[in-house]
Symmetry: C2
Subunit: 138 residues, 2 copies
């Protein structure tokens, strides 16, 4: 929790109970939750947090690079508190999304694109979207 406070302070953000609750919710949840799911989770301890506040706080976090949006095909946004470079595994039968970290792969891709490049495009970041099926239930 102190670690969460430090994160906000580093970015020059005021420490509020709402921000702490939302960031804590995000960091304890690896399932890339929606704003809805975050609200549900924090309403246990913060019954009167406003919907708009949650969206606003999430936007603030994104702006300050504390969290990221996850790109999906659905019209509900999902959020990710893990900022280290990683890829995503998407379940083709459910809404499940998991992180996939693979430094060896990153090096392979980096080497490939340094050698080959993409015409008229300056690469900043490469993310894999791996679609498939999870063989074990979460």
């Amino acid at each position: 929790m102190d670690n969460i406070k430090k994160k906000l302070q580093e970015k020059g953000l005021k420490i509020t109970p709402q921000r702490l609750a939302i960031l804590q919710a995000l960091m304890s949840n690896k399932s890339h939750p929606t704003a809805e799911m975050i609200m549900e989770y924090i309403r246990v301890n913060h019954p009167n947090i406003a919907t708009g506040t949650v969206y606003k706080v999430l936007d603030t976090f994104i702006e300050h690079q504390i969290i990221k949006k996850v790109q999906t095909e659905k019209d509900v946004m999902r959020y990710d508190a893990i900022m280290d470079h990683h890829h995503h595994l998407f379940c083709s039968e459910s809404e499940r999304i998991e992180d996939y970290v693979d430094i060896e792969l990153d090096e392979l891709l980096q080497a490939y694109f340094i050698k080959k490049g993409i015409p008229d495009f300056k690469i900043e970041d490469i993310r894999l979207h791996v679609n498939g099926k999870f063989l074990r239930i979460e």
Copy 2:
């Protein structure tokens, strides 16, 4: 245009002026348009097409694998009529999205994952989301 008709027939879909217009719009537009943009485009020749029809037709096309949704961070859906395996280049400063085809890369990835695999996950499809900047204006 006959080619578009054939596409619908192959999937057992009725050929309607609305479907032809929407698919034609999608195939002539490489910018991964939104439903809104498609409507604007086809309203020139089809002034009284209903919004709901456009969404319905797009869903039907997705269901029959004639088009695909593009995963973005925004809450407007974008559509792609190119079904051959390809990746996407995302502009970090605008809404521009372009296709990126690279068979050599696909082979590299395939070889990598056949060798290495992902624990408890059966890969069906791998897409790269390459973020960066376009060095030439469209």
